[in-house]
Subunit: 301 residues, 2 copies
């Protein structure tokens, strides 16, 4: 399990780089730094609150190791004594409803039976979907994926659509992105390339978000701000009801404040809310669907 330390060191550096780039783009907010240590390992939680553009966000790094429990063995379908895992996980919520919420995660998992894999992804959750922006976002992700494997984008785009989905609402969390797990080296892509793929995502993440942060100059109405709060309610529902990572973290007695730092600063619920017919909010609702080809998206005239 020794080589994971190099990956953890690289992730830790990337965490800092992401925070620095985001601070620069924000122009006011600064990331705090909290180290935590538990029996299973430790991490560094970096949180920004009340920035110029970013209302609440976090970039977390963690490195944990321990005995592989029977439950984990059955979930993973692997037999081993010990595991180690390291990763970066980030969520950013902005004040302005025209600046989407974004989420990024890269992680590496290794067992002492020799099996190891990468997981991760980036996905976007706009309050109000602007198809041209969703298209641009997917183009950026496809460009990263294409550098490593011609199938990556289409496979991981579909995976994100399926993962970021609320069955009880029958809607996607946002416009998706890419999601992958249990990605192991094979004849096409070796370990070094997978590591580089994870790094490329983490590096692109603050650059992509900086583009969206420029929307904070856009004026917005009270109604759009309320709609943002309602959409944040759905984000909370996804994270607490559907997200496997959050569930696993809370059940395994992880660091609750670090896990739930993903929650938005505020959220709202209104019974049987329906947006005005023909409004952008209504159009957004219609676009919260799986399998939309964002890169090929054409606006109907």
């Amino acid at each position: 399990l020794e080589h994971i330390k190099n990956i953890a060191a690289a992730f830790s550096e990337l965490q800092l780089e992401i925070c620095q780039k985001l601070e620069q783009a924000d122009g006011k907010g600064l990331f705090g730094k909290d180290n935590w240590n538990k029996e299973i390992g430790g991490g560094v939680t970096r949180v920004i609150q009340n920035g110029q553009v970013i209302e609440k966000g976090a970039v977390n790094f963690s490195f944990v190791e321990g005995k592989l429990s029977e439950r984990m063995e059955s979930v993973l379908g692997e037999k081993a004594d010990n595991y180690a895992a390291t990763g970066i996980s980030s969520i950013l919520h902005a004040h302005n409803p025209w600046v989407p919420t974004i989420h990024m995660n890269v992680r590496y998992f290794v067992l002492d039976n020799g099996v190891s894999w990468f997981g991760g992804g980036i996905d976007l959750t706009p309050s109000i979907i602007v198809p041209g922006e969703a298209k641009w976002f997917h183009e950026q992700l496809k460009a990263i994926c294409d550098r490593f494997h011609p199938d990556f984008y289409s496979r991981f785009k579909k995976w994100a659509d399926d993962y970021y989905f609320l069955p009880h609402r029958d809607e996607t969390r946002g416009v998706g992105g890419i999601f992958f797990d249990r990605l192991k080296p094979d004849e096409n892509v070796d370990f070094g390339q997978l590591f580089a793929f994870a790094e490329a995502q983490a590096k692109a993440y603050p650059d992509i978000y900086s583009e969206f942060m420029k929307n904070s100059n856009k004026a917005f109405t009270e109604r759009e701000k309320h709609w943002q709060s309602l959409r944040r309610g759905r984000y909370v529902e996804f994270n607490l009801v559907n997200d496997r990572g959050t569930k696993f973290g809370l059940e395994s007695k992880g660091n609750t404040e670090s896990i739930l730092v993903s929650m938005p600063a505020n959220a709202a619920w209104e019974y049987n809310f329906s947006p005005p017919p023909g409004s952008l909010e209504e159009k957004t609702q219609e676009l919260l669907k799986k399998d939309i080809n964002w890169i090929g998206f054409k606006n109907k005239k």
Copy 2:
């Protein structure tokens, strides 16, 4: 399964009575009425939004029946072909942080193997705990319980402490109350008395809450209002992460809007929030513990 229709009819009448009493106490808000029907049965969702005192609340009635799935058999430890269930479920959130959130549920479950039981309870979640009020609340519940069985209050008070608990926060949801499930007739309490016990709770519920609604005359600060939002965040966490009823409802493809009408109008999250030392908020946090003897509570001088 025929006799459950009488209970459902009684619950349906009680639903209306509760709403009428609450409307009178509120003086402005009115409950809407939505009937819903699904394959498994139907119900009536009555929701109040933006009342004078009550910000968001619901009193729901439902009557469902169907085949007992293998999963339900294993959860219940019972073998039967069909089940039927009816109940009232209510949550009320008020504008003023000095008016607590309250929750009440009564339900009856019957199997075609002859086994049936009652479940239910009332519990209180103040933003700011006022020990004298928590004491009064528990006294009201004890008085109801004592009419039916001398052990009911102590058993069901403990059950509520254990049920309304957030393990990931190591805190109770509020000051508890009573909670019971699988309550079957025995040599001490017959079916009629259990039904009367459930009815007594449902009848007392709006009267108890009307007393708390009087707190809406109390002035409050911005800080207390923000604290209320943070406490509502915990309420959301409990309902989405820990509450078995909500989980079961969402998984069994129930009526999502009726299930999640329990969500507050708003909620907030702040990373690593800690209230000012010596503040009422801090004292509240210290009282979010199991096994506090509220009836015997003495304020320290």
